[in-house]
């Protein structure tokens, strides 16, 4: 898929977050994305395009149009 397709000139960029299309402002970092979610930021792990973004790099990593992002946490399970 052409990344240019996900550039939305006025609003920002479109990424896929947990399997759904998601709008982000330009130059959005992983940290900023995580802070915008309804979860304790320290309780998540993030994958970007199937590669883990270590917590130490969340602040530095700027998301790009078309990124496939997974943000996971722990839930009840057997």
């Amino acid at each position: 898929m052409n990344k240019i397709d996900h550039q939305l000139p006025d609003k920002g960029i479109e990424v896929h977050l947990n399997g759904e299309p998601h709008l982000l402002p330009f130059n959005c970092t992983v940290s900023a994305l995580v802070r915008s979610l309804p979860v304790e930021p320290t309780a998540v792990a993030v994958e970007r395009n199937r590669t883990i973004v270590p917590r130490s790099l969340h602040e530095k990593t700027i998301l790009e149009p078309g990124d496939q992002i997974e943000v996971v946490t722990i839930v009840g399970g057997g």
Binding site: P38, A45, P54, G78
Partner: protein, 267 residues
């Protein structure tokens, strides 16, 4: 008399040694399916467990309640599972995310082969087990009750092999005691019976077969009174552990009187 069960130690089972760790309880309890956090916490406490299993899932963007935010994490050893993974690659990915979440190297590996039975895919399970062991994970692996697969998983470096008593959540208890006892006899690593427990006697039967522990979730979480059932499971496990070491009597076809057969009046 078995030294493990001399009178002084006849109060509770010995701790469970798994890899380089020791756990005070041999009952592992899942944290899924509870109606509310209060019930979950009370049931976990009543079960006496130290190890609780958890799952790793996408953050709910609609902010549904996550009961685990109310779990007292300091009290329990969290064992993340790879539930819901139907191939080795996804299961390995979940284990990497688990490490990134700060959950350490211990994982309960599940690679499922079929949505209806939730029985493991033996090929994918073995493949993922090998890779994860190479990457330094301590792998407690969910398995079918196939003794050959169990041996292969041990050879692959599993910390524990965990055959199902019966399908996950089915409540059918131990369906194949013969295969399970063969697995228990053959393996050097601890065998934990995982899945299928419906009630306390199922736990007892698993422990009487010689299992080192039992892992269950639905049997407690979906019981009408999860706290009472957790209490029962705890004691069921203790009963089975002691019985396994106490040396049961042989089965006989006919009766054998308990009272003296001589000196009965009127003879």
């Amino acid at each position: 008399m078995n030294r493990e069960t001399t009178q002084e130690s006849c109060t509770q089972p010995t701790p469970l040694q798994l890899g380089d760790r020791t756990f005070r309880s041999r009952l592992f309890v899942g944290t899924g399916k509870y109606s509310d956090a209060e019930t979950m916490n009370a049931a976990l406490e009543a079960s006496g467990c130290e190890v609780v299993t958890i799952a790793i899932r996408r953050v709910d963007l609609k902010a549904g309640e996550n009961l685990l935010t109310q779990l007292d994490r300091d009290r329990y050893f969290l064992l993340p599972n790879t539930a819901g993974c139907f191939n080795a690659e996804d299961a390995i990915r979940v284990c990497h995310l688990s490490r990134e979440l700060g959950l350490g190297d211990w994982v309960k590996l599940e690679v499922l082969g079929d949505k209806k039975t939730l029985l493991p895919d033996p090929v994918g399970t073995l493949e993922a087990c090998k890779t994860l062991v190479d990457e330094g994970f301590k792998v407690l692996v969910y398995s079918s009750d196939d003794p050959v697969l169990a041996l292969r998983l041990q050879d692959a470096g599993a910390t524990s092999v965990m055959p199902a008593g019966s399908p996950i959540g089915s409540g059918q208890g131990v369906l194949n005691p013969n295969s399970l006892s063969i697995i228990i006899e053959q393996l050097d690593v601890p065998v934990i019976i995982d899945a299928g427990v419906g009630t306390a006697s199922d736990v007892t039967i698993a422990m009487e077969l010689g299992a080192e522990g039992v892992l269950l979730n639905t049997g407690i979480a979906a019981a009408k009174d999860p706290i009472a059932m957790a209490h029962a499971m705890r004691h069921g496990l203790e009963a089975g552990w002691f019985a396994a070491r106490a040396g049961r009597i042989p089965r006989r076809r006919y009766a054998l009187a308990s009272s003296p057969t001589e000196g009965v009046i009127g003879e």
